[in-house]
Symmetry: C2
Subunit: 579 residues, 2 copies
Amino acid sequence: MPPRLLDWFPILRWSGSYGRQHAAGDATAAAVVTLLLIPQSLAYALLAGMPAVTGLYASMLPLVIYALMGSSPVLAAGPAALRSIMSLAAVGGVVATGSADFIAASLLLAVLVGAMLLVMGLLRMGFIAGFLSAPVLSGFVTASGLLIVMSQLPHLLGTPLRSENLWVFVQSLWWQRGEMHGLTGAVGLAALLGLWASRHFLQRLLRRLGLPQGAADLLVKAAPLLILVGFIAIAQTRDWANQGVAVVGTVPQGLPGLALGSLLGASASTLQALLLPALLIAMLTFVEQISIAQTFAARRRERVDSDAEMRAMGAANLAAGLTGAHAVGASFSRSAVLHDAGARTPAAGLLTAVLLGITALFFTPWLHHLPLAVLAATILMALGSLLDFGSFGRTWRYSRADFAAQALTFAVTLLVDLVSGLMVGVIASLALHIWRSSRPHIAVVGNVPGTEHYRNVLRHEVLTHPHILGLRVDESLFFANARYLEDRIGAELASRPDVRHVVLQCTAVNEIDASALESLRSIHQRLQETGVQLHLSEVKGPVMDRLKRSDFLEQLSGRVFLTHHQAVQSLLEETPPHA
Amino acid sequence: MPPRLLDWFPILRWSGSYGRQHAAGDATAAAVVTLLLIPQSLAYALLAGMPAVTGLYASMLPLVIYALMGSSPVLAAGPAALRSIMSLAAVGGVVATGSADFIAASLLLAVLVGAMLLVMGLLRMGFIAGFLSAPVLSGFVTASGLLIVMSQLPHLLGTPLRSENLWVFVQSLWWQRGEMHGLTGAVGLAALLGLWASRHFLQRLLRRLGLPQGAADLLVKAAPLLILVGFIAIAQTRDWANQGVAVVGTVPQGLPGLALGSLLGASASTLQALLLPALLIAMLTFVEQISIAQTFAARRRERVDSDAEMRAMGAANLAAGLTGAHAVGASFSRSAVLHDAGARTPAAGLLTAVLLGITALFFTPWLHHLPLAVLAATILMALGSLLDFGSFGRTWRYSRADFAAQALTFAVTLLVDLVSGLMVGVIASLALHIWRSSRPHIAVVGNVPGTEHYRNVLRHEVLTHPHILGLRVDESLFFANARYLEDRIGAELASRPDVRHVVLQCTAVNEIDASALESLRSIHQRLQETGVQLHLSEVKGPVMDRLKRSDFLEQLSGRVFLTHHQAVQSLLEETPPHA
């Protein structure tokens, strides 16, 4: 088999040796994760502004594709909270929520995210994850969590509130106060309380009641689904739908078809407007996925192939868009469930998809009476991991500049919208980095008497000569700091009228990019015009190789010395101090 | 006098000791530069899509303001080719060229550029110039030069051609071929030939005719103005305007008034649309200005105060917008003239402004019959310094990646528009830098037998221990490369099942930003879960100080060692190899 094919489809590596010992773990894990995935998938579809059934669609073919192409046995692909609200924000910014165009645009967004991830995986562009710095990411995720809370409160309490951003939310809270549907609110809060109690007390209660560990564990994991089923039963018998409680309504039965018609209906202007949001969602999806994959891979001392992960998630998103679902990603909570339940291979994901398919085929009519308030409660209970307010304090103590980027991202996400927030965060990180890099440490150096060493004149007792200026550059030279070198040399020369030779000690220069080369050219030319020679010393091999490809060394008025000491010695001999 | 005031208005430093010896040089330089500035200012206004007279306005108050606030005696502020075509592109993208709104928006753009430069100067944000890498800048400038040629050909030849970008230009060339106004074309080509000949042969000719050096120099410098006057005279006597030759037309006489009414008429949407172009023009203006200022300051062994320069050019642009002119910048050609003619202080600029004021007061009626084709020829002759095709070859040989950024910028500028081109260039430079930084050099190190030195296992014969993994990180850790460290450690551990201790040798780590700290936390936690301890060695002082402000060191399972050798020795004693 060509190695290329094995790289693309890791399933070809493990499926050959698949046996009963794997199947047991995978089947258990798939069953447990399905219990969690059914309510989550419906809820996250709601969060993305999509029909509930599309949550099930997002949990079928995308999971199959990820199982074929992904490298991690426990990474749970499918609908995820952050992706859903970003999809809502991105698509809602282009077409009206709730329209047929909205669904088409949501699918298109998933296809775009998928295509971008696939291409970036092909081009090995994992480095783009680097654009999202940790403080920016945490500021963004926390603000997104708050926005999710705001978006779910109307469903939870039966209040008509708008929640595009904090500003709109507060305004609509002001105008709509008092208007709340009592029964919906009671149902929502009861569901929330039930989910909370089942997470925090059910385990202990069941153990006290004498249930064995395994059974108690399974019951706790099934609790969200059981609560959901319980509310469906009550809603149906009491006919809540006719008392004004919003319910899911008719859910089409069966497996998803190809949504090509819907996709092709999207306009070119919609496509264009979704490009930037799709890029941001692709970056975010990859960062989240890799961080989850690495966490679990480390526990198993496995390696994560980030290119394969990108391709797999890209293909999964393509599959999501083509089968009528919104963008998908990796879920930390479900990955943890897969890991704890003993998933051994990606076959667990395949099996989960089959179980979801069975649900879609046979159980969707039952979902008709499911109150939206219960789904909202499901979403709110899953938010814990998104809200990390402690991170602000940690960043503030560690670095004020990083904190500024974090706070800015948080504020823009909350007050404007998610796409702008993430965009501003990326720009802030980059600006911060360029600002930090723009003033590299450059020391004037002199000779430590009796040695061949050269040290900073400000920190050591060293010998200097009025005709020779030795400068040690303590960083690689690139476009952000190249101009500062020009500035600095200009300033040093303005205060040292006797200097005839400038020697740049390049010990710590790992790279000189084309901008820095231009700066060196300018420096050289300006020095030459005032009769000063420019020399280099201790240039590293790779840097020297590259310089030889330009004509800089041929034009250089001075020389390149192996050591700084040699430079100073030769120049002193040629230009004696008393000259 | 408060030092703050002296910093803001360098004129207060030099005006006290101003004397006759300065006045002579300044007056000569001002006279010579005025000869060049009159035709250039009219031509650059035309290039910006503005009435010709606004070129004179751009050469009055802005020059006065720069003389008061600027630090360079020879920097020539005022209308400049690149700024003018960028102004046209930016404003033309928002409102229709030639409308009253167009003028209002051009002034608004100048005010925005001015305000941004002023604020950036106040906040000492010179680092933003670093966003424009040298290859991107040169790709952009060369493409701009070609766009200027395209924009002037219609005026030069009397052909109606559109020139927003190369694509539009080629299309309109195809449809409009043949339609050319014969007389206009003849005038334009004659002017171009005249200007070219005066630059290349006039000096030699005059010397052969026996003129003294000084007189010949002055005549050569006056030649563009003389040619202009000559064409005005012929156009008037032959009444070219009635034969279809486009002329400047009625030019209002007198000094510019305050253009507040025009400025306040601009709509909020225009303001918003101009923000990004204004930022890019501000960056470009600053980069150009600093590079010109540094070139001449070096020849005089003077220092350039980049914050003062930013403030001065900001205020000059505010003055331009408020007195009815488009955005201004620094001109290399006129700065060179000031330098060569012996300008001693910024008073030369003041005097130039006065001479331009006299022109505006008394000579504008004469401009009525000036053919636009002659101004177009003036612009084309000034383009030489913008077109630098050789730079592509140099960049290609030096660095393929830098070349890619340069070519992309060139192509987008030429095929789409100037604003997109520069924007894409900035993004490409940043992406390139993040990509380069994303994989720092990390070496597995071992002990050089018999010493306390540790070296790369791939390059040296060194001793390692199966329980201890020593890694030397050869760069500062920040958001772009933090994740790679996680990757790399994960990969090393996956292939070394016996490792119990990971020691990071931080000799070359000058900084650990908040993202890298988060990565270290993740690495630490993942290692801890598999029973591996993380240690640090040779952490630099400032890095250590910062780490102490987080709780990372308290949570660290391992220790921080002064030297890598100490780390390995202690760990070997605690965990003997045979354990």
